[in-house]
C-alpha cells in the first residue's frame, strides 16, 4: 500500500513538473497585453506614481522612459491590445490591490466601440496576464461568451495548439526573449518606423453620441472604483487621426466625467497636437500609433499636464527605483541603435559603431581593390584595425572595441562567439584561396548579407543583447557608395 502511494505521489509530481514546463513553453507570450500585466506584479508596493490603462494608444504613445528620465515620474503602461473598457476596469482593480498611485489614467479610445465581446486574441491578451483570483474569473466572464469561458480560464485549451508555431524563443526564459529584452519596459511598446499620416482637419464637434451600454457601465464602474480608492482618475484621448464620429463619443465621456465632479477629469488631447509639436509626417508609424520620437513629444506634454494637476514627486536618485534607471539605460540604447540604423553615410555610420560593447563584423565582397574610392574606404576601415591592402579576395573581419578578433586569410577559416545567453555569431572566411573564398556571417543559423558586391557591416549590441542590423554599402560602376543600401 505504501509503495503504491509513493508511486502515485511520484507520478503526480512528475506530471506537475511536465505540466509546468508545458505551460512555460506553450503559453502565449504577447507583449501587447500579457507581458505588461505579468511584469506589473513585480513592481514594489505603492511605488508607482501614474498608471496608464487601456489600448495600444496608451502603451505605444505614453513613453514611460521619458516620464522617468525627464520628470522622475514612475509610470506604468498597464494596457492590452484593443483593451475593452471592461478589461481596463479589471486591470484597474488588480492594480489598486498593490498600488496607490497619484493618478490613474484611462484611455477612452475603445469606449467608442460596440459589441459585447472582442476577438479571441484580444480576450487572451487582456486576461491571461492576470494572476488567478476572483477578479480574473470575473474578467474572463465579462470578456467571453459563456460557452468559451472555461477554456479561457484554464488557458491551455487555447494555447495547446501552438505546437506548429513554437520557435526558439518559446523555450527561453520569458523575460529573455528578444523583444522583451530590447523593447518592453514598464509596459511600454516602442516603435521605430515612420509612416506619414494626414494632419487632422480642425473640426468643431459639439454633439454627443451614446456609448454602448456595456462600455458605459464599465466606464462608470472604473470611475467609481477610483473614487472609492480615493485616487484621481484622468480619462484621456491620445492624438491620432480621428474620425469626427468618435469625437461625439468622447464628448459624451466628457459629460460622464463631469457628472462625477472632483477627482475625475477628461482631456481629449486630439486638438492639441500642434501645441505638443507633433508632426504627423514623421512622428507616427500608423494612424493611431506614434513612433518613439512622437511618443517622446506627446509624453513631455502629458507629463507637464500631470505635474500641474496631480501631486507627482520626482523620484530620480532614489535607489528604490533602480529598475527605472535600468529602463532608462535600455531606452537610451534602444534609441542609439535606432540612430545607427537610420545613419546612412559610411563615415558617420562607422563613427557610431565606435563604442566598446558592440561586436561588428565587416565583410567585403567583389572587386573592391579596383574601386575608384579605394583609398577612402581603406582609411575609414583602418580605424578599426582592418587592413584592406593585406586582404585578398572576399574578406571578413570581426572587431570589438578596436581589436580584430578574427580575420580571414589565417589558418582558421571559421570563428564563432557566443553573444549573451542565447545567440551565437559564426564567421566563416571560406575555404580555398583568393577569389574562391566565399565568406559567410551567421547569427545563430541565419546567414546575413546586405549586398553581394561591396561592404557589409553586421552589428550586435552585447550589452543590450540584441542584433542591431546588417548594413550594406554596394560597389556600383567601380565605386563604393557611401550611402547605405
Amino acid at each position: 500500500m505504501i509503495r503504491k502511494t509513493v508511486k502515485i505521489i511520484a507520478f503526480f509530481l512528475i506530471l506537475s513538473v511536465l505540466l509546468l514546463r508545458f505551460h512555460q513553453v506553450f503559453r502565449f507570450k504577447f507583449n501587447d497585453g500579457i507581458y505588461g500585466m505579468e511584469q506589473f506584479y513585480r513592481e514594489k508596493e505603492n511605488s508607482l506614481d501614474a498608471i496608464f490603462f487601456g489600448s495600444s494608444h496608451m502603451y505605444v504613445n505614453v513613453n514611460t522612459s521619458v516620464l522617468w528620465k525627464e520628470y522622475g515620474i514612475a509610470g506604468y503602461d498597464l494596457g492590452g491590445s484593443e483593451q475593452p473598457v471592461w478589461n481596463s476596469y479589471y486591470y484597474v482593480k488588480e492594480a489598486l490591490k498593490t498600488q496607490k498611485p497619484s493618478v490613474l489614467v484611462l484611455d477612452c479610445f475603445t469606449a467608442c466601440r460596440t459589441g459585447d465581446y472582442v476577438d479571441e486574441s484580444r480576450i487572451i491578451k487582456n486576461t491571461y496576464g492576470m494572476q488567478l483570483s476572483r477578479d480574473k474569473i470575473d474578467a474572463v466572464n465579462a470578456s467571453s461568451p459563456e460557452s468559451d469561458r472555461i477554456g479561457y480560464l484554464l488557458e491551455y485549451p487555447t494555447y495547446h495548439g501552438r505546437y506548429g508555431d513554437l520557435s526558439r524563443s518559446d523555450y527561453r526564459k520569458y523575460a529573455d526573449t528578444d523583444f522583451m529584452r530590447s523593447n518592453s519596459w514598464k509596459g511600454q511598446y516602442l516603435h521605430t518606423s515612420v509612416h506619414s499620416q494626414p494632419e487632422p482637419e480642425p473640426e468643431e464637434v459639439t454633439e454627443t453620441a451614446e456609448l454602448d451600454e456595456k462600455n458605459e457601465a464599465y466606464l462608470r464602474r472604473t470611475i467609481e472604483l477610483a473614487k472609492e480608492a480615493e485616487v484621481p482618475i484622468l480619462l484621456m484621448v491620445v492624438p491620432y487621426v480621428t474620425d469626427p464620429k468618435e469625437t461625439k463619443f468622447y464628448n459624451r465621456i466628457a459629460e460622464i466625467a463631469e457628472e462625477y465632479g472632483e477627482g475625475v477629469d477628461f482631456v481629449n488631447f486630439n486638438p492639441l497636437w500642434e501645441e505638443m509639436g507633433l508632426d504627423f509626417s514623421v512622428d507616427y508609424m500608423d494612424n493611431c500609433h506614434m513612433n518613439y520620437q512622437g511618443s517622446e513629444k506627446f509624453t513631455r506634454y502629458l507629463a507637464e499636464y500631470l505635474k500641474a494637476r496631480y501631486e507627482l514627486s520626482d523620484h530620480r536618485g532614489d535607489s528604490t527605483y533602480q529598475s527605472y534607471d535600468t529602463m532608462a539605460w535600455y531606452y537610451d540604447r534602444f534609441v542609439y541603435n535606432d540612430q545607427i540604423r537610420k545613419t546612412t553615410e559610411l563615415p558617420d555610420y562607422l563613427a557610431k559603431l565606435w563604442i566598446p560593447d558592440y561586436v561588428t563584423v565587416f565583410f567585403i565582397k567583389g572587386d573592391y581593390k579596383n574601386i575608384s574610392n579605394y583609398e577612402e574606404v581603406r582609411d575609414l576601415l583602418a580605424c578599426y584595425g582592418i587592413s584592406l591592402d593585406e586582404a585578398g579576395g572576399d574578406a571578413v573581419w570581426a572587431v570589438q572595441n578596436g581589436t580584430v578578433l578574427f580575420s580571414s586569410g589565417g589558418e582558421e577559416y571559421c570563428w564563432y562567439q557566443e553573444l549573451g545567453k542565447y545567440d551565437v555569431l559564426t564567421v566563416q572566411s571560406g575555404q580555398g584561396d583568393g577569389k574562391n573564398r566565399i565568406p559567410q556571417v551567421l547569427l545563430n543559423d541565419s546567414p546575413h548579407s546586405a549586398v553581394n558586391d561591396g561592404l557589409n557591416i553586421l552589428t550586435y549590441d552585447l550589452e543590450g543583447e540584441s542584433f542591431v542590423e546588417c548594413a550594406g554599402f554596394a560597389i556600383v560602376d567601380g565605386e563604393m557608395e557611401m550611402g547605405k543600401r
Partner: protein, 501 residues
C-alpha cells in the same frame, strides 16, 4: 456532456469521489442521480423519455415475472406475448416517432409527389434525443431476456432505472445485456473502494480512448470533412484517402467512446462488455461483424437473426435472415436510405461471399495458392478492408446520389499527380498535422496488432511492463492529448459520430 469535454473532466472525478465516500447502500442511488444529470445536460426534457422507457420495460418485466409464477397455460403464454408485444410497441413507437418520422414522412411525400397528390406537412420539429437507439435496445433486450427466462425481473425500480441509464454507456453503448449489468449493479455495495489495478486499468483505457478520439478521429475528420463537403472538386486519390481516413475516423471515434465507457465503469468497479476487437484485421466481412460494434451485432444476432431462424434453415432462408438483419441494422444507424444501402451492402457481401466460396476454393486449389501464408491472409484483410470502405462511402455521404457520384469519381477520376504536387496538404491537414496523424496511426496500429495477436488490451499489456515504460507510455498519451488533441475555444468539442444513432 461529451466525454472529451472539460465538463466531463470535472464531472467524472466528482462522481467517483462521492461514489466511494458515501454509504455503500446509497451508491446506486448516487449513480442513478449522476446518470440522469449526465443525460439531462444535453436536454433536461430527454429525461422524460428515458424515464418512460424505463417505466414501461420495468412494469413489463414485473408483469412477465408474475405471469411466470402462475401455472403455465396457453393463456398465460399468450398473455406473456402480449406483454412483450406491448413493451416492444411502446418503446419502438417512441424510437420510430423521434428517429424515423421525418424519414417516413419524406418517403411518403415522395410517393404522393409521384402520384401528383399534395404533400403532408408537419407543424412541429422533432429533435432526436441523444442515445435513444442505445438505451431503447438495452431496455428491450432486458424485456426479452425476462420473457425467455434468462434473467429474473428486477424488483427495485431505481436499480433497474440505473441499468437503463448507467451514464458511461448511456448515449453510445456498449449496449449491455441485463444478465451482465443488472447483476453487477445489484452488488455495487460490495465493490472495494481501493483497487489500484482496477482504477489504473480503467484510467488507462479512458486515456487511450481520449487519445483515439481527440488526436486521431477529430484530426482525420478535418481531411474527411474537407473532401466530402466538396466531393465534386476532387479526384480518385483525394476521395480514396478521405474514405480510408473516414474508416479510421469512425473506428477511432466509436471505439474511443466504448473504451472511455468501459474504462469509466471499470474505475467504479463495473465491467462492461468489449465493443470493438480490432475490426480492420478481419479477414472476411462476417468476421468484421464479429469484431465491430460487438454489443449491437450480438444484440441483432440474439434478438432478430436467431428468432428469424438464423442459419438453421434452408440456404435461402438463411440469406433472407442475413439481409433482413443487416437492413434493419443499417436503419438502426440512421433514418436515411444511405444507411439502409450500407447495411444491405454488408448483408450482400456475406451472401455473395458464401455463394462464391466454393468457386473461390476450387480456383485457389487449381492455381495451387497457398492459404497458410502471410500474404494470403494480408490479401484477405485488405480485401475485407476495401469492401468495408466501399460501404463506408454510403455511410459518410450525405445522399445516395452523392455516394454513387463519389464511387464513380474514384473509378474514373484518376489523378496520381496530387501525390507529388503538395495539394493534399491543402485539404485540412498541413504537413505538421499529417505527421502527427501518421505517428498516431502507427501507435494505433501497434496497440491493435498487440490486441489481435495476444488478446491483451493496453491496460493489461502495461500492467506487465516495467515502471519506466508504463509511465513513459502514460505521459506520452497524456501529453499527446493535451498538446495534439483537437479541442479548445477554436474547436468546440466535437461530438462523437455515433451519438446520432
Amino acid at each position: 456532456m461529451l466525454f472529451n469535454s472539460i465538463h466531463f473532466m470535472i464531472f467524472f472525478p466528482v462522481v467517483v469521489g462521492i461514489y466511494f465516500l458515501i454509504p455503500r447502500k446509497a451508491r446506486y442511488i448516487w449513480l442513478l442521480v449522476s446518470s440522469y444529470y449526465f443525460y439531462m445536460s444535453w436536454n433536461p426534457e430527454y429525461a422524460l423519455l428515458i424515464a418512460c422507457s424505463t417505466l414501461v420495460t420495468y412494469v413489463s418485466g414485473r408483469q412477465l415475472a408474475s405471469l411466470k409464477k402462475v401455472p403455465q397455460s396457453p393463456k398465460t403464454a399468450v398473455c406473456q406475448k402480449w406483454v412483450v408485444a406491448f413493451c416492444l410497441a411502446v418503446n419502438l413507437g417512441i424510437l420510430v416517432f423521434f428517429k424515423y418520422s421525418d424519414f417516413i414522412l419524406n418517403n411518403f411525400n415522395h410517393m404522393l409527389g409521384i402520384l401528383g397528390v399534395s404533400q403532408v406537412r408537419r407543424k412541429f420539429d422533432i429533435l432526436l434525443p441523444v442515445g435513444i437507439s442505445f438505451y431503447t435496445f438495452q431496455a428491450l433486450g432486458y424485456t426479452i431476456d425476462v420473457y425467455r427466462g434468462k434473467v429474473e425481473a428486477e424488483k427495485n425500480l431505481l436499480r433497474y432505472a440505473l441499468f437503463v441509464s448507467f451514464f458511461p454507456q448511456l448515449v453510445a453503448g456498449p449496449i449491455e445485456r441485463s444478465g451482465n449489468l443488472i447483476a453487477q449493479l445489484n452488488h455495487v455495495e460490495d465493490i472495494r473502494l481501493w483497487n489500484y489495478e482496477r482504477i489504473t486499468g480503467g484510467a488507462v483505457l479512458m486515456l487511450w480512448g481520449l487519445f483515439q478520439k481527440m488526436v486521431i478521429a477529430d484530426r482525420a475528420a478535418l481531411f474527411v470533412d474537407t473532401v466530402y463537403n466538396g466531393y465534386w472538386r476532387y479526384g480518385s486519390i483525394e476521395l480514396i484517402l478521405a474514405t480510408v481516413l473516414f474508416a479510421v475516423q469512425i473506428y477511432c471515434d466509436f471505439s474511443s467512446y466504448s473504451l472511455i465507457a468501459v474504462g469509466a465503469a471499470r474505475v467504479m468497479g463495473i465491467r462492461l462488455m468489449e465493443n470493438f476487437d480490432t475490426p480492420y484485421f478481419a479477414r472476411s466481412v462476417k468476421e468484421f461483424w464479429r469484431r465491430w460494434h460487438v454489443s449491437l451485432s450480438s444484440w441483432f444476432r440474439d434478438y432478430l437473426y436467431i428468432p428469424l431462424g438464423g442459419s438453421r434453415c434452408s440456404k435461402l432462408c438463411c440469406y433472407r435472415n442475413i439481409m433482413i438483419t443487416f437492413l434493419v441494422s443499417g436503419l438502426w444507424h440512421g433514418a436515411s436510405w444511405n444507411f439502409v444501402v450500407w447495411g444491405g451492402l454488408h448483408g450482400a457481401y456475406q451472401v455473395i461471399g458464401d455463394r462464391l466460396r466454393p468457386v473461390k476454393m476450387r480456383l485457389e486449389d487449381r492455381l495451387k495458392i497457398k492459404r497458410d501464408c502471410f500474404s494470403y491472409k494480408l490479401g484477405q484483410v485488405l480485401t475485407t478492408f476495401g469492401l468495408v470502405n466501399v460501404a463506408w462511402v454510403f455511410f459518410r455521404a450525405a445522399s445516395l446520389k452523392e455516394a454513387f457520384f463519389i464511387l464513380g469519381r474514384i473509378v474514373t477520376g484518376w489523378n496520381p499527380w496530387v501525390l507529388s504536387d503538395q495539394s493534399l496538404y491543402q485539404l485540412g491537414l498541413d504537413v505538421t498535422e499529417v505527421h502527427i496523424l501518421a505517428v498516431s496511426l502507427l501507435a494505433l496500429f501497434l496497440v491493435d496488432q498487440m490486441k489481435y495477436k495476444t488478446g491483451k488490451t493496453l491496460d493489461l499489456f502495461l500492467r506487465e511492463q516495467l515502471l519506466w515504460f508504463r509511465w513513459l507510455v502514460l505521459f506520452t498519451l497524456l501529453f499527446g492529448i493535451i498538446i495534439y488533441g483537437i479541442y479548445g475555444p477554436a474547436f468546440s468539442a466535437a461530438a462523437f459520430i455515433y451519438f446520432q444513432f
